[in-house]
Symmetry: D2
Subunit: 109 residues, 4 copies
Amino acid sequence: LDVADLQARLRRFAAERDWERFHAPKNLAMALAVEAAELAEIFQWMSEEESRGAHLDPPTHERIADEVADVLLYLLQIADKCAVDVEPAARRKLEKNAIKHPPARRTGA
Amino acid sequence: LDVADLQARLRRFAAERDWERFHAPKNLAMALAVEAAELAEIFQWMSEEESRGAHLDPPTHERIADEVADVLLYLLQIADKCAVDVEPAARRKLEKNAIKHPPARRTGA
Amino acid sequence: LDVADLQARLRRFAAERDWERFHAPKNLAMALAVEAAELAEIFQWMSEEESRGAHLDPPTHERIADEVADVLLYLLQIADKCAVDVEPAARRKLEKNAIKHPPARRTGA
Amino acid sequence: LDVADLQARLRRFAAERDWERFHAPKNLAMALAVEAAELAEIFQWMSEEESRGAHLDPPTHERIADEVADVLLYLLQIADKCAVDVEPAARRKLEKNAIKHPPARRTGA
């Protein structure tokens, strides 16, 4: 995933629409939470088992792909505004999680 | 961002903890929404202007980076389970957004 | 607010549609989070000042009222399923908050 | 539920802490979404069946009650700031829902 290129396109997209004034991290984080809820809404009334096969239905697959994309696009904009380098941040968090939840534990989630 | 490598690590991480049974898309989408809310919580009582500078404070920067990472890690897991290829999905969504909000419009967000 | 009457109506509403099987607290909590995001979405790109006056526009007032109602209706259903008595729960939480944030503190939120 | 009394207490609570300046509907809606996510988090890794019995465990019951209360307290504050009369709003929304989802339909949710 070419994060820098997508962030450059998102910056241009916002500039061309004069939307930078709306794009404070506070507003972007709120928009991200709204998109995350729209993604969750797809699976809301499904059983867990149904949700595992939901993407096999092409229109549902497209809906999921669009909401995943919306979440990602806001996430990349927040990272850009807040000087977060996403790849090292993700790898560092995975390591923190590995320490917090050692494999032996095997309970909870 | 090496999406395939991160997804492989996340798959291994879940397998080593016997967590696959928890990782239905429904549950992952709920967990993503919870992490998105934790990211929003950082900026909740700040003004928009304060949120623009929040990352200049190192502990706040680390909190933002960790929550951005949590959202990204759940997003990559959902994409993996739902056979969504994140980069083309993001680029296609950007194009849809460009058509929906042509640059000339210049109002709203 | 006649909580018991509304909860009885909601129970009947679900029974008449054979929706009880969907109404596990897990699903209702997810639905509540989705409605909360829809309420937040109304104010998302407004400044704080604009949000203070948003309800003066009648169509926006109706949208706010509808989303407030949706959140409340899911909340009452969760309380019903989880044997939570909302009024004492709310009063007890207010007291906990008063201890956690004594008036003298005057900072943060 | 004595909505007017709770709203008066919440107004006093905010005034005593000089928090009115934070309590724009935009911020309260964001805080409500965060509390809704905290409620959802309780049930996140449970199966639907487990979530139906979760409140039988006293510490979990208390956690649910506290999060239900937090959601309600923010909801009442939003209603207060936005001049929404919660009881009629809830009853009108129930009627709208009954028209949108007639009992005969019996599918979906």
